[in-house]
Amino acid sequence: MEYGVKQEQEWLWVGLPEELDHFQAEQIREAVREKMQEAYIKYVVFDFEHTRLMDSSGIGLIAGRYREMAVRGGQVYVSHVSDSMKKVLTLSGLYRIVLPWEETITATESK
């Protein structure tokens, strides 16, 4: 997915940039906030397809969305996570609360 935010009913798709730092995280947070005012969002998918670097600001961005979705009984997913990004996500403990998108759709498809 290209860089940007896309809303489809209760789903929000967030294409993350190549380098997700504090500067980028703030802009994405604003874009997500705007979409959340337009529609009732319950599920957020963060797409790491183009992401090569992430610092702890990205963790804050994702964790913040998790808190918001959890309150609504929703969920946050991460997709196209490269091995190097896995390192940061694991270190931060985010993998304990967000779900890998690829595994989720495989599971539902095999039903």
């Binding site: 504090h22 500067f23 610092d55 600001s57 940061v88």
Partner: protein, 150 residues
């Protein structure tokens, strides 16, 4: 002590320059023939330190961040400094998950990340004067090539 190669750069403490800081240190480090992972680690560590200067040191207000880096053998040292408000309790600040800005969704992991991605981390700070973070990382050992200039 062998030959030391040093650089010094100073820039405005604004979000736009976080990327610039990463690139400048990565370019300087590339002379050590680092692996992609080592380079990525250094960039994240620098990103964390610079972000701390911007958000906490200057609280989003104007200020300057200074980065001094030097190479000795295969060891890179990066010092990120601000002349902002300083840290009253360094030990507390470095506790994982501790943040003074939860309302801004700060994860409180900046120092943890810096520690995880470097070999050594030292933090010096004085309230009202500023903060200096010194990170050390040995690089390029995996490649088996010797890039020392002496």
């Amino acid at each position: 002590m062998g030959n030391t190669n040093e650089m010094l750069v100073e820039f405005d403490a604004i979000g736009e320059n976080e990327g610039f800081a990463r690139v400048v240190v990565a370019a300087f480090a590339s002379g050590l023939n680092p692996t992609l992972e080592e380079l990525g680690d250094v960039k994240v560590a620098v990103s964390e330190a610079v972000t701390n200067g911007i958000i906490h040191g200057y609280g989003g207000q104007p200020g300057k961040i200074r980065i001094r880096a030097w190479k000795e053998g295969q060891t890179l040292t990066v010092q990120v400094e601000d002349r902002g408000k300083g840290i009253p309790d360094i030990e507390k600040a470095m506790e994982p998950m501790f943040t003074t800005k939860p309302e801004e969704e700060r994860s409180g992991m900046g120092f943890s990340f810096m520690e995880a991605f470097t070999d050594d981390l030292q933090v010096e700070s004085r309230v009202g004067e500023g903060t200096r973070v010194t990170m050390v990382k040995k690089m390029g050992e995996q490649n088996g090539s010797d890039n020392r200039t002496n």
